[in-house]
Symmetry: C2
């Protein structure tokens, strides 16, 4: 069973916003400057920077400053912890159903004897 992981709070909360998911979808295609990332969003720059900050704090995005340009990219294995948690729960859930299937099959076989 997954232990409590505070990073998952930040990660899933960061993913729960459409602007932030669009930023991640853009960065999955390759690194981009802050102004490139902000361009499609009808939003004041400080609000946009707040979204970027949440993605950085959640460990989903990294950024570096070169001269006057800040470039962002997807963090390596950004989605791994979220995918791991979801897969673990699905496996437990599906394992439970498999065991129930086995139980019903055994019951049917016992009755046919």
């Amino acid at each position: 069973m997954s232990k409590y992981d505070p990073n998952l709070d930040q990660c899933f909360s960061a993913l729960g916003d459409p602007t932030r998911r669009l930023i991640l979808q853009r960065l999955a295609r390759g690194e981009a400057s802050v102004s490139e990332l902000a361009a499609p969003h009808d939003m004041a720059l400080p609000s946009f920077m707040e979204h970027l900050k949440k993605l950085e704090v959640a460990g989903l995005v990294t950024s570096k400053k070169q001269g006057r340009t800040r470039t962002c990219e997807l963090a390596p294995d950004a989605f791994a912890p979220a995918k791991k948690w979801l897969s673990e729960q699905s496996e437990i859930w599906e394992g439970r159903l498999d065991r129930f299937d086995d139980y019903v099959k055994n019951l049917m076989q016992e009755r046919q004897k």
Copy 2:
């Protein structure tokens, strides 16, 4: 590219809270009554019910009332939309890296000629 899906807002936001993830982890092991679910949490019942409501609105949990007992279970394929979004982004990201690998390999081969 994933279209904007408002259900993902609710789903990921619901997952961004430790109490709600613990409820889901419990339900992955099988259905439970509200009082069974609430027992391990040091929380007033109305606050706990708010968490359950968020999980239901997000389509992660279903519940039914039998007599005086409300029983909750994990919704079928509860985690599928979240897993799908994460996998799509990972595949695009990894595909980009693969294409970059191919580009470097081709460049090296050209230089060796």
